[in-house]
C-alpha cells in the first residue's frame, strides 16, 4: 500500500509499538507531544512511557525523540508498506496512516537531519505503530537516515 501523509499538523496521541523501538529494549508505549500551536505543529516530542534498557542491559533513562511528519516538510515523500505491516497495524485505508520521521537534533538547529529511511508507521485511529525497516539491498527505498531539513540556514 503506497502512503502519503496528509498535509496537516501533528496532533497529540499515544502510540503503542508492536515491537520494541530498534536499539531500545522495552520501548513500546510513547506519548506524541506536538511542539507549538495545535494548527502549526511540524515537530513533536515522542516521549517513551516505558522503562528502557540498551541491548547490553544498561538502563537508558527518559528516552525521548524529536519527530516530524515528513509529508509536512517533503510533500512528495512516501514509502511502500508491505502487506504484513498493514495487517499487523490494522490499517484499513491510506487515511489511517501517519508517518513519523525521527530527527537527529544538532546545533545549529538548521544542521539537524531527519531519518527518512526508516520512519515510524502509525495507525492514527488506534495508535498501533512500528518502525519501518527497509527490506534491504534489493528493494531499498533510497532514502537517507540523515536528510537535511528543508530550513533556511540563518547561522
Amino acid at each position: 500500500m503506497p502512503t502519503t501523509t496528509a498535509k496537516v499538523a501533528l496532533t497529540p496521541m499515544e502510540l503503542t509499538l508492536v515491537r520494541d523501538l530498534p536499539g531500545f529494549t522495552g520501548a513500546r508505549r510513547f506519548a506524541l507531544e506536538p511542539l507549538g500551536g495545535p494548527e502549526r505543529a511540524v515537530f513533536a516530542r515522542l516521549r517513551c512511557l516505558d522503562t528502557v534498557t540498551l541491548r547490553d542491559g544498561s538502563p537508558f533513562s527518559s528516552l525521548h525523540l524529536l519527530v516530524t511528519s515528513p509529508g509536512l516538510l517533503w510533500p512528495h515523500y512516501g514509502i511502500e508498506l508491505d502487506e504484513a505491516l498493514v495487517e499487523e497495524l490494522g490499517i484499513e485505508s491510506a487515511d489511517d496512516v501517519e508517518l513519523l520521521a525521527i530527527i537527529h537534533p544538532r546545533r545549529p538547529l538548521a544542521a539537524s537531519t531527519a531519518n527518512l529511511y526508516s520512519p515510524i508507521v502509525v495507525n492514527r485511529r488506534t495508535g498501533r505503530a512500528d518502525q519501518f525497516v527497509p527490506a534491504g539491498s534489493e528493494s531499498d527505498v533510497g532514502q537517507s537516515v540523515a536528510t537535511p531539513l528543508p530550513l533556511e540556514r540563518d547561522d
Binding site: R19, L21, P22, G23, F24, L35, G36, G37, R40, A41, V42, F43, R45, L54, R55, F60, L63, H64, L65, L66, T68, L72, L73, W74, P75, H76, Y77, A84, E87, E88, I102, I103, H104, P105, R106, R107, L109, A110, N115, L116, Y117, S118, Q131, V133, P134, A135, G136, S137, G142, Q143, S144, V145, A146, T147, P148, L149, P150, L151, E152
Partner: protein
C-alpha cells in the same frame, strides 16, 4: 553458535513454524535463502536493522537538547512548513 552444513534445496527448521531453505549458492560466495515464517516474525537483514538502531541511538542521545529548546523547535516548525521544498535526495 550452532553450525550446520546444508546443500542447495535442503532446509532447517527453527522452532515450530520457521523454515529456512538454501535456494542457491553462487561462485562469488553469495548464498540465497528462502525463509517461511509467521507474519508476526520480524525478518531483517542484520546490517539494515543495525543502521536503524544506530540512527535511533544517535538521535536519542542528542534529544535532551530539544527539551531546552522546545519553543525554538516550534518556531522552526512554522518556518519549515512555510519553506517546504522539493524531494530530498538519497544517500
Amino acid at each position: 553458535m550452532l553450525s550446520l552444513t546444508r546443500e542447495v534445496g535442503q532446509k532447517i527448521v527453527i522452532g515450530d513454524d520457521v523454515v529456512v531453505t538454501v535456494i542457491a549458492v553462487s561462485s562469488n560466495g553469495r548464498v540465497r535463502l528462502g525463509i517461511e515464517a509467521p507474519k508476526q516474525v520480524r525478518i531483517d537483514r542484520e546490517e539494515v536493522l543495525e543502521r536503524v538502531r544506530q540512527a535511533n541511538r544517535e538521535s536519542a542521545s542528542t534529544a535532551p537538547d530539544v527539551e531546552i529548546n522546545a519553543e525554538e523547535w516550534a518556531a522552526y516548525g512554522s518556518q519549515a512548513a512555510a519553506s517546504a521544498g522539493p524531494e530530498p535526495e538519497g544517500d
